[in-house]
Structures are given as structure tokens and as C-alpha cells.
Symmetry: D2
């Protein structure tokens, strides 16, 4: 059953359901960390091509942060999750005197469930021009950070991956951080989950805006992607309904295959979700890149 999801943790759950994974240790390493306060982190590493095939995702690290109560603004929960984001991100990006980073907020700011990237990008502390101004080659307290909102192909006419690559030529970063909306299988994931990965953005992820991947292979440098599920594919809720009511899996899959509507399913409080999660991710990034300013 080929549910669409951009989350490694959901792909892993599907494998477990299917019982397709006889040997857990072959190609996939998984570790859970309890941060307390209803915050859990699951680190999944896909270590070889067998893991890739099983997980239908490229080799690399996938960190899933799960937290309850963010939209309800439970006491201090946003502060706590920000700190976890920073802590996990620091494992992938080590701050040093010369650290130079390009942040790219993907998606269409005019379509609410696709606005996570631009909304987060607008809250990033950008410093590249200050380094230029003061002719500084580095700093002990903050990184050299540039930021771009490349828009979507429907409004730019261009491939997002190509715009980022060209921008990257300008500022020559050591690492690119891309932020994007993701698609989940399970509606419960929307508003509780953040995924951080060093494998970048896969083609067709999220709202399906990008045809080309944004990763180390296409960019030529390390790409860290941070995403939050904001949409569910229409075929996901249809498949769920069919499976519960029809015995023939083949019949279900045939119907899904022929289903060709370009539609997205999202929650009605998506505006709050985008606001809260862009705050959390931007603050997590700011703490990671500018440890002397945001402590």
C-alpha cells in the first residue's frame, strides 16, 4: 500500500504494519529519546541501499520531534520545543567562527498550508550583509546567514532548486537549510510533528511544487531540510476509507491510481499552525546559528 508521506517515521510505521521488515538492523537504525514534557524525539538513520528501498527514502538521518499541546499553547511548550529543535540541529550543524549558511523558505506565501517556509524565513536573523559591511571574516557569536524565499514555479516560472543553486553561488555557504511544508499520511501528525533531515527535499514533497530534489547531490553542498506536515494527500483519506470497506486491495489501488484531482486536504486552523511552527523553527535555527545572541 503506497500511502504518500514525507515523514520517515510514518514510512517506518507502515513497514512495521506490513511486517515487511524481517531484520530491523539491516539498513535502518532507530532510536527514541524522551525529552520529557510530552516531547519525544525519534532518530532514524537509513544506512544502506537496502534501507533506502525499504523506506523509499534516501540514505541519511531523519529526526522526528513530536510534541503535544502546541496549538493549545500549553504552558511554555513552544519554548521547550524550540530548545529541542536547536539541540537536534546542533548535531547536524556545528557552529564555528567561519560558519556561513543559506536559509531557504520554500513554498507559496499566499497559500496558507504552503506558507511554512516563507513564514519561517521571515523570522530568521540575517547577517551576511553585516559581515560584508564590517568586512568581517567570521564571528564568535553569530554565523554569516543569508536568506531567500524562492517562491513556487507557478509564480516564478522557474525551478526552485535552480534558484537556490544560483543564490548559493553568490554567498558560497557551507550548508543550506531549507524549510518546507510536508505531506503526512496521518492527520494526527499535522500540528504535532517536526522532521529534520540531512537528505534535503525530495522531488514532489509537500504540496508537490518542486520537480527537482534539493539535496547535497543537486546543490553540491550539505542540505538540511526542516519540515512540518501541513497537508494530507486527497488519495490518503480516500484510501483509508476504501480499505476499511473493501476487501480487494487491488481494487483500492486501481481506483487510487486513476484518481487525478489536484487537491490538498488540510485542517481549518492551519493559520495558527503555520504561525506557531514558524516561530518554533525560526527560533531553533537562530539559537543554532547565533549562539552568542539567542541563548
Amino acid at each position: 500500500m503506497n500511502y504518500r508521506t514525507d515523514l520517515a517515521i510514518e514510512r517506518k510505521e507502515m513497514l512495521d504494519e506490513d511486517g515487511k521488515m524481517p531484520n530491523l538492523t539491516e539498513g535502518i537504525i532507530m532510536k527514541k529519546i524522551d525529552y520529557g514534557d510530552d516531547i519525544t524525539v525519534t532518530r532514524i538513520e537509513i544506512t544502506d541501499p537496502i534501507g533506502e528501498v525499504k523506506m523509499e527514502k534516501p540514505m541519511g538521518n531523519y529526526i522526528t520531534i513530536e510534541a503535544e499541546g502546541i496549538l493549545e499553547e500549553a504552558d511554555g511548550i513552544k519554548d521547550k520545543v524550540e530548545k529541542v529543535v536547536a539541540q537536534e540541529l546542533k548535531e547536524l550543524i556545528k557552529f564555528h567562527y567561519y560558519l556561513n549558511v543559506l536559509v531557504a523558505g520554500l513554498g507559496n506565501p499566499m497559500v496558507t498550508p504552503d506558507a511554512l517556509g516563507p513564514s519561517t524565513a521571515s523570522k530568521i536573523k540575517v547577517t551576511n550583509h553585516l559581515f560584508e559591511l564590517f568586512r568581517a571574516d567570521g564571528d564568535d557569536e553569530m554565523s554569516r546567514v543569508s536568506c531567500i524565499m524562492p517562491g513556487v514555479t507557478a509564480t516564478t516560472g522557474m525551478e526552485t532548486a535552480e534558484i537556490i543553486k544560483k543564490t548559493s553561488e553568490l554567498v558560497k555557504p557551507e550548508v543550506i537549510i531549507v524549510i518546507d511544508s510536508l505531506a503526512a499520511r496521518n492527520i494526527e501528525r499535522v500540528s504535532t510533528t517536526i522532521q529534520i533531515t540531512d537528505t534535503g527535499i525530495s522531488p514532489g514533497a509537500g504540496m508537490g511544487n518542486n520537480r527537482t530534489g534539493i539535496n547535497e547531490e543537486t546543490m553540491g553542498i550539505k542540505v538540511i531540510a526542516i519540515g512540518v506536515p501541513t497537508v494530507i494527500d486527497a488519495t490518503t483519506i480516500i484510501r483509508d476509507a476504501l480499505i476499511e470497506n473493501i476487501e480487494s486491495i487491488e481494487k483500492v489501488e486501481k481506483y487510487i491510481e486513476e484518481y487525478d484531482r489536484q487537491m490538498i486536504v488540510t485542517s481549518t486552523d492551519i493559520d495558527m499552525l503555520i504561525k506557531d511552527f514558524s516561530d518554533i523553527i525560526a527560533n531553533g535555527i537562530n539559537k543554532t546559528l547565533h549562539p552568542g545572541i539567542y541563548s
Copy 2:
């Protein structure tokens, strides 16, 4: 089969499919007008309680404007549809020297598929303060127009109907025009259809923000509602899928009944749709209310 739709024309289509309507003339009058240029208008009048029960909609007039090619920006199509909106609206609101109108743009401006109302309202030519300033009791070229964006209960804490009623007490209009996003059954309707009705807004229409109706009964004066389908209920696409694959209608309806996710289905180019349709409706209203300025 109880598909959710805010469009009278779709309810009528479902009746026809079901063959439930033995006598067309009883309670429902329907008339099609061809405006040329791929623009069709269907006027449906529900004339008595039998029609109400059949159509599951209150008695009154429902005008459906259907046009092809709006998102593709076919040559001059927006101008043409604007004129049809004005022409049909003029049947319901007659301009005169003392005409005093309150326009209310319903919905959440921060959630794209719900932003039709606020987006349209922001393009309305507002004049009430000018009449106050010049102490004019009326005008031959323009109406006295006030405008409000009442927001949604989740962000105001209040019922939208009550905010509009209170505002209406301030400016004492002869008629209220409310603009809102609607829910359709058929995805094809999204981006091709405008509905104008003198029955106002039903409770739970569109994104389901409002619990109370906004109509002549609750407001005490005539209420014209203008809407565009921007969302499909999640249960609609599920029901469609189940019906095609399961024989037992009862089983389908039972599944739907128990389905309790608060989700909306919309198209990925919803930003363009909101922009184009708010232009069209605002211009149609401006032409109707200010015939001496917008000709």
C-alpha cells in the same frame, strides 16, 4: 445521499439524479440564460415549503453564474463576468438616491480558501464617511456604502452574525451584502461558479465558521449573499470513492456519518482563485452600488 453543498444548482442536480422530483413545477422554478462567451446563468426560485424540503434550502432566489476560463485569464473574461454579476445583482438591489448598503466580507483572511470575503471587501468602494462629511442625504451617482470584515469566531470569540447585526444598527442599511466562501460537492465548480442569493448565509456554510444564519430573519433587513465554492468537504471525496466501489449505500453512509475529522479539501491554485473572484465580485458590487462611477 447527503452530499454537502452550499450551491442550490448542485442540490437541484442531485434531485435530478435521484429522480426524487416527480413534479418540477412544484416549489422550484428554474430558468437558464445564455450570456454568450461561455457564460451561463441559472436562476432557481424556491417558491414554497415543498421546494424547501426538496432542496434543503430556504425559500428565495438563487442565481448561479457559470463561466469557463477565468483562472486561465481568457481574453476579457473577467470584465464580462463582472458585468453579468452586476446585471444579476441589479435585479435584487435597485439603485436609488437614498440607497444605503452594508457590505460584510466573511471568513478568515489568514486561511487562503476562506479569504474570499475579506479579499472582496477590501476592494469595495466605501462612501458612508463621505456622506457624513458632506452631510449628504443621498446621491444620484453613488450609494452610501459601509463595509466590515467581522473575522471568524476562533479569532474574535464572537458570533459573526451578532457582529454584523450590531454594525448594522450603526449604519441602518436598507440591505446587507455578505460575501463568503462556499462548499461545493463537485470539484469542477471550484473556479467556475458564483452564487448570488437573497436568502443570506446558512449556518455552517463554507468553512463552517458560523453557527447562526445571516439572513432577513436574523438581521431584520434584506440580506443578499454572494459566494464562490472554494472548498469541498472531506466526506464528499470519500463518499464519491466509496460509492463507486461499494454496492451498499447504507454501509457508505454509516462510514461517512462516523467520520469526524475537521478537514477541508481545496485546490493548489486557490490563491489565484481568491484573487480573480474577489476582483470580479467587488467590481460587480461597485458597478451595482455606484452606477455613476463604475459604468
Copy 3:
């Protein structure tokens, strides 16, 4: 010299400059509090009509919070100022089980220097509908809060004061909190100062949108106004220039008096200012009204 300012502290400074105030204790009481971390609070009380005439402001309390480094995002400064806002606000609004508050975000969200009110309002935790839903008469942890963005007369056609009064009839609050952009005399004030007052909003304050005051007299209940200077009157920078270059004050004042351009002066980083100060004020209000949730 009649500089335009909405800040009591600037009016007091002008009095001191002019030496017009022979007896400090008559009608005006002033007290400075050092909160540390470069945060100063000045509490001014105008106690009688003599103070009113001197200060050209109505009797009541004016609390000025001054802080350095907010736009530069100095470490933790926003958190600290939020706490001071909450602490001072709690002196004016005492939380209790039945506390019922209407928050009104004044100004035009589409004009950046006027967007403080709507921007803050969008970050307020609104609860009135939850109290309705659960039929609660009060709560130990949170207040009953409603929220409105009444817009500006140019886009609504109505007086803002009247919209707020009508809305207030709906929810019957104990106190109204209005947030608005203010005009300062001194450009340095922009981005460093917050004023809290129990005298409400004066006619013509800020961008000059409102002709009617929003205060206890017009609303019938207590009105707390929170403002941040975001604009300088064009005549202020002109007067400053003339005074430094011309001896005759009369000539200066005559020129200013005849100057009739409708213009505003603001800073080029006004977008950051609105973002940061709306965060601070919204969090300060949330802490005050919902002490069990935001601690």
C-alpha cells in the same frame, strides 16, 4: 511650541524644557522605576485639571516603558520587556474569576506603521467562545476575552469608536484594551517606547484615523490604551529644522500652521518594529489576562 505627541512623557519633557512648570507637584506626579537590563518605567499621573491643561492630556495614569536593544534582538530583551508590560498592566487590570475583556486592535493592517493594533490583536489568546461553548461563568486560569480589529474609517465608512462601542454591547466586558500606533515628537522614541494609559485613545492620535475618543466617557467602561510610537508628524521634523535656523518662533509657528500636507514620517525598518512590538504587547496582555496559561 506645539509639537505633536501622543506620549505623556514627551509632553512632560517639553514642559520641563519650557520651564513652564513652576510647581512640579501641582497636578502632575511622576515616578521612575529602574527594572534593570536597560529597562526603565516612568509612571506619570495627571491628578487634576491644572495638570490636564499643563500636559494637554486628560487626567489619569500614563506608564512609559523604555527599553534599548529590542530591534537588535539583544539577548532575552523581548522576554524581559514582555514581563514588564504584564507587571505594569496588572496594576491597571486585576485578574479575577469573572474577568471579561474586549481587546481592540486599531489601525489599518495594510499600512505598515499603522498595523501595530491589528498585528497585536492577531496574537491575543481569545476565549469568549470557549466560555460560551462550555457554559462557564468564569475561570481560575484565564479570562473571558473577545477581540476585534475595527479597521479604519477610510475602509469601513464608520467611526472606529462606534464600532467598538457596539461590539462592547455584545460581550459586555469589564474593561476594553485598545492597541494603537502613536505619534512621537522624537524619532528616538520610535522602537524604544511603549505607553500604557487608563485614559484611552484621544481623537486624532497616531495616524489621525479617529475623530472620536475611545475612553471611559465614550465607552461607558474602563478603557486601557497600549501604544507604541511608529510615526512622527511631518510638521515635527520641519519645526525642528526651522527652530534651529530661525530666531523668530512666531514665524516658525505661522509656517507650521499653514502647512497642510497629509503625510507621515516613519523609519525604514518599520516592519521589524511592528513585528517585535506586537509580539511583546500581545504576550504582555496574554500573561495578564490568562495567568494560569502564560506564566
Copy 4:
């Protein structure tokens, strides 16, 4: 007297006031065209280095479109001005089967008087991806159009000129159209004037965001700039005031020179201005680039 202005027509007016221009024909050619309906077009050509020095602007063509009544939405005025924009633009950009254009909307969308560029860009019909999709090498009805909103250095950390140049490498356009807010000397110009020039954007124009020029020299291809004055420099209104009141020009200039506030002066209805002028310019561009669609 060195008033700041980005408008060639104002520079010419200042020359005329000063009487500095003994020989009109030397280096500057000017021609007025009356389009009727209160629309005037002035074409200024700076033909040699003497003209450059006199006008303090680079050699090239400057087309100024002046129209009354746009904000008042006088009957049909927007349609008429759109047509004039298209007509003048067609003199600079000839449509042909292979025409390939990059449109860049400069400025900060979050600061209203700086939002002309992004606001216009969002209304441009973008087609580059369609040409890619259908592997078309050209078209008889529409051009190949890409579009970018490069943001401002304060939020990207990068020079806008460099971002545009890199993007231009991607799509290899024949011409770049840049849209930007401009600074005028005379407040009357705000809301009545559009300037089109083939000399691009000068460093420090408009809100002063860009240090590098965006023109044929820096981009390597033809650059057409379209601008509308939305701000007045603070020193302009101060200088006006001082000159009227002080005899010594030297004293005035000394004061201005030492004035170092980063402030902008704009009108209070700037939101309407941005909306109307971005509509007009976008439609003018669409008519020019896609003659088969927008006639």
C-alpha cells in the same frame, strides 16, 4: 539645490527653475504628448554626457506618464492609463515569437510604501514553465516570462542586483523589467506619476535599499525600469521649509547635509496607491508581453 528625486521630469523642472539650462537642445530632448482624459506623457531623452551632468541621470529614455483621478477611481481611468503604459512600453520592448523576459519586483513587501514591486510582480502572467512543459521555442500570442521578488538586503543579506543577475543567468532573458518604488521631490507626484526608463534602477533609488545599479551595464542585457513615486525624502520637506524661511542657501544646505535620520515620508493612503498602481503597471506589462491574451 540638491533635492533628491528619482524622476527625470522633476530634475528637468529643477533645471528650468534654476535657469541653468541655456540650451535646451544640448544633451536633452523633451516631447510632450497629450493622450486626452487628463493623461499626459512626457518623453525625455538624455543624449550625451552633457545632458547626463545637467540631469544627474544616465543617458537614455525617460517616459513620464501623468494622470489625474486614479485614487479617486474616476470612471475608467485605470483602464486608460493601463493602455498608455502598454503603448509606451511597446516602444521599448517589441513583441516577437521568441521574446523572453525576466520581471523583477523590487522592494520589501512588508513595508507598504516599498511594496510596489512585489505587489506588481504578483499580478504578472508568468509563462516560462509552460514553455518548458510544452517544449515550445516561442509563441505568437505570448512571451516567455519569468518573475522574481528578490526582497531587500536587510532580509536576504544579499545585494538585490546580484540576485537578479544570477536569476537572469538561469532564464537568459532578452530584457529585464524591474519595478520599484521611487522617491519624488514633490508630494503631488505621489499618486499621479509613472516613470518608465531604459536606464534601469540607480543605486540608492526609492527607499535606498540597493547599493548597486540594476542596468544594462551591471546585468549585461537591456533593463527597463518602471517606477512610481511613493516616498519623499525627509530632507526634501525640511529643505522646502527652510528655503521659504531663510535667505542663506548655504545655511540650508549645511543643515541638510548634517541631517542623518533614516526616515521616509509617505502619504496616509499609501495602501490604496500601491493597490491601484500595481494593477495598472501589471496590466500594462501583461498587455505588452502577451498581446494575444490581453488585448
